[in-house]
Subunit: 352 residues, 3 copies
C-alpha cells in the first residue's frame, strides 16, 4: 500500500522536481492537515499560502511553479499537469472503496414476483422495494429503503443509494448513479383553473435517465405531462436540484446544487448551471453556455458564453452594469458639481 | 381507443376547421415529435414555428389563428378555446392511468395494532409504516417506504406516494396528494441563545393540510411551534419548497418549486409564488398577489398585484428601475458631455 | 396542569403588572387566537395591534411597554425579559411532549448482526435499517425507514427521525437530531473532464456532525472528497440546505433554510446564513458574520458584520447602493434640466 516517490511519479505521470526528507508515503491529506508521511496536492491557487507552510511529505504541484517560492526542503515536489486529477489516482491507491456488492435479495427487501432480475447478479439491500414488472439489470444495486416503482427499467451496473424513489415506468440507462433521497418521476406541476379551483392535469409521461447520468441527493425530477423528461448521457445533476416536467437536458451537462429548471426548458450539450441558478419555462440554453451562481434565465440564451444576473446577461455586460452602479455615488456628486457651476455661470450672466 | 376527427371535436368541445390526410388518430405527441397518427396541440405562442412544420395528423389550435399561416394540408385543424385543457382530455382518452389501488396491507408493510383503517378500503403498500394511533380514511393509499406517524389523521381518497414522511399528530384532509419524499411536520427552526448555545425551542404544534392540497416531491413543511401550520384548501405546493413553522397559506394558492416561506408568514387566497421566491418571517401577502421568480418579499404586500425583485416591488416600478439602470452608461456619457461644454463655457467667460 | 397567575410569574421569572378577569389558565395560543383561559405572549413588535385586541387571559410582555396602550382590563399582564423564551416555559408546562422512546428493535426493523448497540437502551423503530458494523449509542432512536449505513457511528441520546439516510462511515456526536429525509454523507459533486466526459472523482471522506448539531428535513450534506466535512458543535442547519464536500462549519452557527455552501467553503463560529443565501467554493466566512436572505458570498468575508446582496457587501454599503439606484429617475431628470440650462446659456453666448 505504501508508495515511494518514484512510484508516486509513475502513478500520476508526474516528474520529480525535488526529493524531500521522506522516501515512502503512507497516506494523504489537504495541505494544511497533511503530515510527514502524507501525499498532498496544490489544486487551487487560493491555497498557495498553505502550500508554502505545508508539512506534507510530498506535494503534487502544477507545471511552472517549482521555480517560485517553495515549502521547506523536507517536502518533496512532483510536477503534474493536473494536480487534482493526479491526486485522484493517489486516493484510488490508498482507499480501496469497499462497495459491498453482495449479490442477492437481502432479508427485509421486498421484490415483486413478476419483477425481472437475476438474483445472482444484482444486489437488493434490506428494506428496498422492487414493485411489479420492474426490471433490474445485472450488476445493479438497489439501496436500503429505495423504491423501484412498477414497470421501471434499471440498466446495468447502476448504483441506487438508500431511500431513493423511482416512480412507475421510468427508465434508467447503464451505470446511472442515484444519490440518497432523490425522486425520479414525481408528477409534473400542472393545473388548469376551472371554476376557481386548480384541477390537476394528468401527468402520464416518464423520466429517462440516459447512460452515465448521476443524480444528487434529494434532487427531484418530474415525469413529463406526456412523452419524456430526459437527462442526456453523461450529465451530472447535483443535490436539491429541481427538474420540471418535459425538461430536456443534453449530454454532458453539469447542473449544480439548488438550481432549477421550469417546465419544458431545455439545455444543449455541455451546458453548466452553477448553484442556485434558474431557467424559466420553455427556455432554451444552447451548447456550452455557462450560467453563474444565482443567475436567472428568462429568455433563450446562445451557446459558448458565460451569463450572470437576473435576468441573465452576458457576463461582461453584467459586470459593466455593476461597475456603473458602483460609480453611482461619484456620478451623483458630479451632477451636483455641474449644477453648482451652472448656477454660478447663470448668476454671472444675469448680473451682466 | 382510436379517435376519429369528429370524435376528437366532440371530446374537446372544438370545431373542425379543416380535415387532413388522416381520419382516425391513435396517439399523441408534441408538435415537433408527433407523427401522422398523432393528435398534437399548440398551447404556447413560442411553438408557432413547430406548429407550421408539424407532421401531426391533427392539431388543437386556439381561436383566431386558423386564418393565418398554417401547417401543410395533410394536417387537420380543430379550433378550441384552451388547447392545453382540450389536450388534457385527449391524454385522458389515450392513457388509462392504471393506478394500482389494491386494497389491503401488503406483505412488508407494518401497521400498528391500534391504527384505525378498514383494510378492505385502503391500500398500504410494501414497506409502508403506519404508527400507533394513526387513522387512514377509506380510499387512501400509503406508498412504499412512507411513514405515517403516531396519531396522524389521513382523510379519504388521499394518495401518499413512496418515501413520504408525516410526523406525529399532523392532519390531512380528503383527496390530499403527497409526492415522494416530502416531509410533513418536521420541527420548526426555533432556538434561543442561552449562555452562548442555541437551545431548542419545543415545537409542539402540528401541520394541517386541508382538502385537495397537493405537496411536491421532497418539499418540507414544518409543524407549528404551537398551534398549526396550515395549507389551505386546494392549494398546490411544488417540489423542494420550504414552509416554516406557523405559516398560514390560504385557499387555492400556487407555490412553485424551490420557493420558501419563513416562520409565521402568511398567504391570502389565490396567491402565486413563482419559482425560487422567498417570503420573510411574519410577512403577509394578500389575495391574488403574484411574486415572480426569485423575488424576495421583506414586507407585507397588497393583493391583486404582480411583484418582482429583491426586495419585492410592484412589477412596473421594478421594470422602470431596471430600465434606468440599463440607461446608466448613456447617462454617464451625457454627464461627461455636459462637463466638457461647461468647461468650454467657463473658459470662454474667464477669457472675456 | 392549570396555572395560576402567580405560578405563571414564578415559572417565567416574570413580574405581574396587573391582574385580569381570570385567575387560572389552562392553555395557550397566539395573540389573535387565544381565548379567555389561554396564556399568550408578545414576542414581536409586528403584533402590537393583535396585542391590543387580544382576548387572551394573560399576556407575557417585554419590559417597558406596560406604561403604553394596553389590551382591555380583563387581560392580565406579566412582564418578562424575553417573552418568547418565557413562553417556551409555558409550552413545556402544558405540553408533555410524548416522545415514545420504547427501547428495543421493533418488528420490521433490520439490524445487522455485527452492529453494536444495547437493545435495552436504544430504540430502533419499524422499517429502520442498521447496516453492518454500525454503532448506536445508548439513548439514541432510529426512526422508521431511516438507514444507518455500514460503519456509521451514532453517539448517545441522538434522535434520528423517519426516512433519514446516513451513508457509510459517517460519525454523529451526542444529542444530534436529524429531521426526516435528510441525507448525511452523499457523494461530493466532483468530476474531471476527460476526453469530453465528466469522470467521477472518488469521494472517500466522511461527514462528522459534532455534539448537539441539528440537521433539517431533506437537507443534504456531502461527504468529503477525502478527509471530513464537518458541522461544528451546537450548529443548527435548517431544511433543504446544501452542504458540499469538505465544507467546514464552526461551532454554534445558524444555517437557515434553502441556503447552500459550495465545496471547501468554511464558516467560523456563530456565523448566520439566512434563508436562500449562498457561499461560493473555497470561501471563508469569519466569526459572527451574518449573511441576510438571498445573499451570495463570492469572496472571503470578515467577521462581526452583516452582509447583503449578490455579490455580498456590508449591509450599509449595499443599502446606500440601493438608495442611489432608487434616486436614479431623479438624477436622470436633473441631468436633463442641466442640459436645457446649458443649451440656453450656449445659445445666449452664440447670439452675443
Amino acid at each position: 500500500m505504501k508508495l515511494t516517490l518514484q512510484e508516486l511519479a509513475d502513478l500520476t505521470g508526474g516528474k520529480i522536481v525535488r526529493s524531500g526528507a521522506i522516501s515512502e508515503f503512507a497516506g494523504m491529506g489537504a495541505l494544511d492537515e497533511a503530515e510527514q508521511l502524507d501525499v498532498s496536492f496544490l489544486g487551487n491557487e487560493k491555497y498557495h499560502q498553505d502550500y508554502l507552510e505545508t508539512e506534507a511529505g510530498v506535494v503534487l504541484i502544477p507545471l511552472g511553479i517549482a521555480s517560485g517560492a517553495c515549502p521547506c526542503d523536507s517536502v518533496a515536489l512532483v510536477e503534474v499537469e493536473n494536480p487534482s486529477l493526479a491526486f485522484a489516482q493517489v486516493v484510488k491507491h490508498f482507499v480501496t472503496t469497499t462497495r459491498d456488492f453482495i449479490p442477492g435479495v437481502a432479508v427485509g427487501a421486498i421484490v415483486a414476483d413478476d419483477a425481472t432480475l437475476d438474483i445472482s447478479k444484482v444486489c437488493i439491500k434490506a428494506g428496498a422495494i422492487v414493485e411489479s414488472g420492474a426490471v433490474i439489470g445485472d450488476g445493479s444495486e438497489v439501496g436500503a429503503g429505495s423504491v423501484v416503482g412498477a414497470g421501471v427499467q434499471v440498466g446495468k451496473d447502476c448504483l441506487i443509494h438508500a431511500n431513493a424513489t423511482i416512480r412507475e415506468q421510468c427508465i434508467l440507462g447503464d451505470r446511472v448513479i442515484l444519490q440518497p433521497g432523490c425522486v425520479i418521476g414525481s408528477d409534473g406541476y400542472g393545473y388548469e383553473l376551472i371554476d376557481g379551483k386548480h384541477v390537476k392535469v394528468d401527468q402520464v409521461g416518464i423520466v429517462v435517465l440516459e447512460n452515465d447520468v448521476e443524480i444528487g441527493a434529494n434532487t427531484t425530477i418530474d415525469r413529463a405531462r406526456f412523452g419524456k423528461t430526459v437527462i442526456g448521457e453523461g450529465s451530472k445533476i447535483d443535490n436539491l436540484v429541481q427538474i420540471a416536467h418535459n425538461v430536456r437536458i443534453g449530454k454532458h451537462c453539469l447542473v449544480v446544487a439548488q438550481s432549477g429548471m421550469a417546465g419544458s426548458s431545455t439545455l444543449g450539450n455541455y451546458v453548466t448551471l452553477a448553484a442556485q441558478a434558474g431557467v424559466g419555462g420553455h427556455i432554451k440554453i444552447h451548447d456550452r453556455a455557462v450560467l453563474t451562481a444565482q443567475t436567472g434565465a428568462l429568455k433563450d440564451l446562445k451557446g459558448d458564453m458565460v451569463y450572470k444576473g437576473m435576468p441573465a446577461r452576458p457576463l461582461r455586460e453584467e459586470q459593466k452594469k455593476l461597475a456603473h452602479i458602483a460609480r453611482l455615488p461619484k456620478l451623483a456628486q458630479e451632477v451636483k458639481n455641474l449644477r453648482a457651476r451652472l448656477d454660478q455661470l447663470e448668476s454671472g450672466q444675469s448680473s451682466e
